[in-house]
Amino acid sequence: MIIKKIFLSLLLIWALTGCKKLDLAPSDRYTELTFWQVDDNVNNALNNIYNSIYTSNPFFYNEALSDNAYTRLGISAGNVDAISSGSFTVDLNRFSSDWGYYYAGIKSCNIFLGNVDKNTTLPAATRDRMKAEARFIRAWHYFNLMKWWGDVPLLKEDITADQAKTMARTPRADVLKFITDELDGAAAALPTRDQYAAADNGRVTKGAALALKARVLLYEGDAMADVVTLCEQLMNNQSQNGTYSLYGDYGGLFQSSSKYNSEVIFDLEYVLNSRMWGDYIDFAPLSIGARSNNLAPTQELVDSYIMTNGKAISDAGSGYDENNPYVNRDPRLSATVVYDQYVWKNADGSTQKIYIAPGSSPAGQEQNEYKASGQGTATGYYWRKYWDPVSVPTLQFGSNLILIRYAEVLLMYAEAKNSLGQMTSDVWDKTIGALRQRAGFTDAGALGFPGAGADLTAIIRNERRSEFAMEGLRIDDIRRWKTAETVMNGWVHGARYGDPAVDNGYLRAQLRTFDKNKHYLWPVPSSELVKDSKLTQNPNY
């Protein structure tokens, strides 16, 4: 009786309360089953792949991995200061975050490539183009992985979590072959920059695929003839591969007013209010409204800029005056670096002088001065390149970050030709001569071919440094040239505000060590070695 009553109550309760359905799905998103059938979604998935190309933080802070810059507060930038000092551990966050970043990007590409054909409403040609864009970006990620780590697991399609636990590293040569093959495939399927509609500005082009392949092979160093061929395709066959030329104004190249100019081959897109770079707040002179200075150009970089007469500052007859060091220098110096007494152009067209030498400022304007501690520069220099006068008031960067530009094609060409022993006055004029002219050199000593007797290799290398400072290429160059073991050992310096008895008064910014048997490759993150039984570590870590 009682049991029956209870049972009946239970049934009643169940009937009254159990009717709420539990299969609830979010209202703002698609499931795997329905997603790819919608054209917009396919576009959005591809846009997401673009989103993961790169970020501004390593773009800028990687300069501090090289001898171009020093970061005082490495903690805010993936500890690049620890890497450059040589006294890092394999647990360093930067290694695992980069490793994870690239593989996350690769996964997006693999998912896209594996699913895009589930869509049947987009034209096949459109889907082919989109696939080529994704393949280019996947190759870009593998190139970065290979650059830093050498052998890396090569995942050509999406894998499961359990498969990930037993992936071995693919030999570097195979990764290289995959990258170049993919770039070939992408180049064949992609439109040129001229073929795209204006609305597609910023998409991967055929020219980008060719240029990236040239960079990949240039870094290998053993296929210079192929590099020459690729560069020539871009220089001489522009009707097929896209029209590119040097932009008239070196400084203006990096400003929002010149977005999508004729020199840009591949860039990271900036959109006002939506995708902006917040890094500059730690680069600019404090009087511009910066929070602090966290990435300071080194004296070594400043010294590398030649004189307007084409001579290095150390050359006899260069005219370099250590007490007045910033006059008659490569015009690219003042487009890149802010030094003492620099005349800064404000957004409204007015100017202000940046006083950096200790004790040099008029009263009340001391904040940019070098101090042994504080929020100002640690080296006596601030950055200028990429500052955009029309950027929003919060010091957010105002322009696209250029990842590959035509100037690089010219310098790759020069370097490849030179290494094949084919450097001529003609090649010089088309490459370094043209770049120097664009930069504002007028002296024939700088513009003219220095002759086969000059140390052309050194000149080409230095030209890359001056042209691409603060564009992230320096660290690649010193690693592939194997000069890191030289330039990354010893003190890196700041301006001549220090104890005259130490290093001739040049500030010691950071003591660096570089082990050539170890540091040319980054360590595989130690946490990954534990998770993936087949993964192996790079030598000497």
Binding site: I6, L22, D28, R29, S87, L155, A161, A199, A372
Partner: protein, 1162 residues
Amino acid sequence: MNKATSASRRLLTRYSSTCVLSAWLLLSVFPLRSQTAFSSPLKSWSPFQTQDRKITLQVKNEKLGSVLEKIEKQSSFVFVYANDEINPLRKVSITMKEKSLNDALSELLTPLNISYELVNDKIILKPAKPSVPLAGGSSGEEIKKDEPAATARPNEDITIEGRIVDANGRGLAGASVQLTGTNIGTTTNDAGAFSLRIPSERFGNGVLSISSIGYLRQDVSLSGRRTFLVRLESDNKEMNEVVVVGYATQKKISVTGAVDAINKKAIEDRPVTNVLLALQGTSPNLIIQQTNFEPGQGVNLNIRGLGTTGDNTPLIVIDGIPGGDINLLNPTDIESVSILKDAGSAAIYGSRSANGVILVTTKKGRKNQAPVVNYTGIYGMQSPRITYTPVHAWENAYYKNESLVNSGLQPVFTPEQIEQFKTQGDGDWRLANILHDAAQQTHNLSITGGGATNTYMVSLGYLDQKSNFIGPNYGLQRYNLRVNQTTEWGHFKLNTIIGYAKTRIKDHSTVSANLVVDAGRVPLYYNFQDSSGNYLTNAVSAQYNPKGILEKGGYRMLDNNEVFGNFNGEYAITKDLKVRGVFGGTVTNNSTYGRTLEVDFLPSSNYGADKSVSNYNYKGLFTNLQLLAEYTHTFAGVHDVHILVGGANESYKGEENQLVKTQTDALGRPTSTTVIDPNNSYTSNATKPDGNPATTETSLNSLFGRAAYSFRDRYFAEFNYRMDGSSKFASGHRWGGFPSGAVAWRVTEEAFMRPVKDLLGDIKIRASYGILGNQNIAAYRYQTNFSNYQGAYGFNNSAVTGARYVLGNPEITWEKATTFNIGGDLSLLNRKLDVSLDYFDKTTRDILDQRQDIPAIFGVSNLPPYNVAEVQNRGWELRASYTLSGRLLTQTFSVNLSDNLNTLKKLSGGESQEIQQMEEYQIVRKVGQPITVYQGYRTNGFFQTLDDLNKYPRFAGTTVTPGDLKFVDRNHDGVLDQNDKYILGNPFPRYTFGFTYSASIKGFDILLFVQGVGKRDEMIRGEQVEPFHVGYSGTMYTHQTDFWTPTHPNAKRPKLAENGSPSNTNNYRTGSDLFLFNAAYARLKNLQIGYTLPQALTRKARIQKARIYFTGQNLVTLSKLNFLDPEITEFNNDTGFGVGANSGRAYPMPIFTGFGIDITFL
């Protein structure tokens, strides 16, 4: 007179098991309803009255005492008598069958010349003729035998008289005697006697309500009598205590699980702004931590520490409805709080009970009570407790020079400059100058009362807590309204509770920690403003001026509204079987309006240049439907059975949206350059910037039951079971079953323990075992899906939308916590000393956590949860309270102490550790250790000599000099590296305790409440630890001056050195125990000193009670960690990863001092 002792012993009220169960039943029907009187005997049957029990007796030559016990078992009544009046050893013989109680009593007692009276649930026995004085109180006073009802003439007052005594028969002075429904009342004299004139028309049907502090209130029907003897039973005794448990209430003696009941007394009259802060320290292993002390800030709350690597927040049930926001409750509205700690008590809440359950019950009215109006108010000031002070400007300049010189650099301050700093004094740029003392006040007004079939309670509350930040009137206001109404109608009873809470918080427009740090680490060379009032920046705080931001930088205004409703209808099908339906829930509507204004600083920089205006809105609907059936019966007088079955659904839907515009004008209106911020604006059908959906919906279907059995109030057994189906899990993994069993044994009820019981008191042993669940994860995590997000990329200067892939795990299901608990409740020394002890051992398996064993090459950093980890958590609790009553002075001591320690048994897959770098040091999750521990090197003094420098190990590539730290080479391999790290400490509190002392003498009372933590490690970095921290901080503090110098080699801290120098790198960039601090503390949380005005005085003003008091909160703190508040934690409620290191930049703790008033009007 020596008989009085035995009388008092015998007079201990004993309840029959029937009584217990029926009381339980009653109370489960009407949670915490006072037991009201029904002295008019035996009317028609009503489901809420139980006196209509038929009595069957067959005894021969049995002691009267045991015969009375038999009647107790068969009725719901308890006999009360004095041994010196009624001899329980007298032998009787009687046989009766199915007699009514009245008939049975007459038949039994009349021949024995004993009269009886039914009062409440008690039957008072007295000799049938006038007796000698009851006990050794005041001599010679006679209690007249009840006279038959006098025939009163209309409109004429009748004088009644009587005496109020305690259980020992002693007269109670100052007890209140009140004719219910009127303002007629009096208090007793020193002998406990009273006389009262009452209108004749109330003489037949009036009810006297008798109360005295420390005793249970009793209602007595006049029923035409003129003389009364009323025995009040002491309150606060285990026997009478009722405890709210899941879906019901229980007498405390029959509770089998680990349930801690916190009375409103622990919360009353404290200047706390929310309930959780009031509960801190009141219950062992109820651990409450704060991340900062700002008005409106939430707290970390957990019971028995951490049992899972996920969310450890317990389930909160307010007036029977789960999931309410306890922070919005008015602490004054709370009647009681039950903490369900073990499986035995919590399993009826199934899938959400693994972290324990907190049941909050709010106040109600009483039946037959004239309206009582109560006002309480507290007003006082909060002073920020600033724990650190920068050194004087000139001292700082001196130290800075020393730091530079130690690093091989040139000093920057000349002796003249230092002298000048000394002469001109310090600037005003310091933390204290962006803070001020701020007022805090609370006002509460309540009206309670009831008629014969209804009760009501209406309360209004107002809280105004100003912020300690300077600026335009920052702070919090909360408005509370609560109505609780009960109506009975035949077999039907309806209870309605409606609560409304409105919270308004006006906050500055930035992040508090940034203001605190910008104000706190600038050396005293600088001022906030120049003589013209311009806000300045300087070399250390180059970007912002916190004073300018606070005063001119705009604000955020939070306006949160919540309506709570609970409709509870109950129908008695038979007297044993009741069904109950509950519908309740909350409607929430929160909004935030934000306005950032531009402030320019000199010589450079500004704040709020984006001049944004933002509007955020949230609406939430939570509904809960419960249907329950409850059956109670006593078989053969000794077997008590209680069965409860129920089903419930809980459904939630929350929707958010936000609009942010930048570059607006001074009034926040759009201009030609205004844009909608695409990254932070979203509608309710969109994905939020953090990747979560703006609309979330969850639902939970449940079936549950409880079966309880007890035998002779001696052995108890209880079984609970709950099945939950949750929308958070995929079909097939959705339903979980959560059983628990519990037993208890009242040892002292055994016959062989009688002598012990008489000497000691009650002893109960309890044990429980069961499986509890946890599903505290976000919705939809079992589904893989694609969500769109704005601003993914841009083509041709225009933003384009992207689609993100969110991986789901269809396999996820509940966390399961297997919990064992053993405990005991002891009531000793004549119940003056109450002690409870518990030990628990809980193992949580299938913990939902990120898998650590999946390599990054899988490509998903936002992995879905998997059922992977396992944690064991063990600990104990002790509670003790002791009451010392004297003639004038009554003192109560209560203490609680507890410990818990968890051990991570499994992380995921084969992974045995997970590390997060916290700037210099690390936090680690490591199998075999507590869930989260600090890791780093151990220091071993300083390098002092050349010999040290040559021989002692150091890190590769580092240069050390005398005055630098030595680190322990743990593995003695001669080099310092990763392998030399130690587990340095556990950031979670252990040995938490609370101590309360209260005393009252005459009208004065004092209460002292101390709360603390016996053991906790805290790692702190940043400017509070490192002089001239990195380059961000420009100052040293007075607590940092004990540093190494050649003449002071035994210092606490290494020598001063500049950032980037080898010394600084060795000492401060290496995560070591240099950053480790002992955060144990004891804090005088509350001190009250009060005075209650004499009733003789207040009655004239129609005031029943008036108390004025001083109250202070957080008055004294004792801790070895003296430069920061030891209560602050950097962790959330899972001590999980993803938090930043603790840099001690929290809003400071306010110290409150003020006065309160508590008035009850007649």
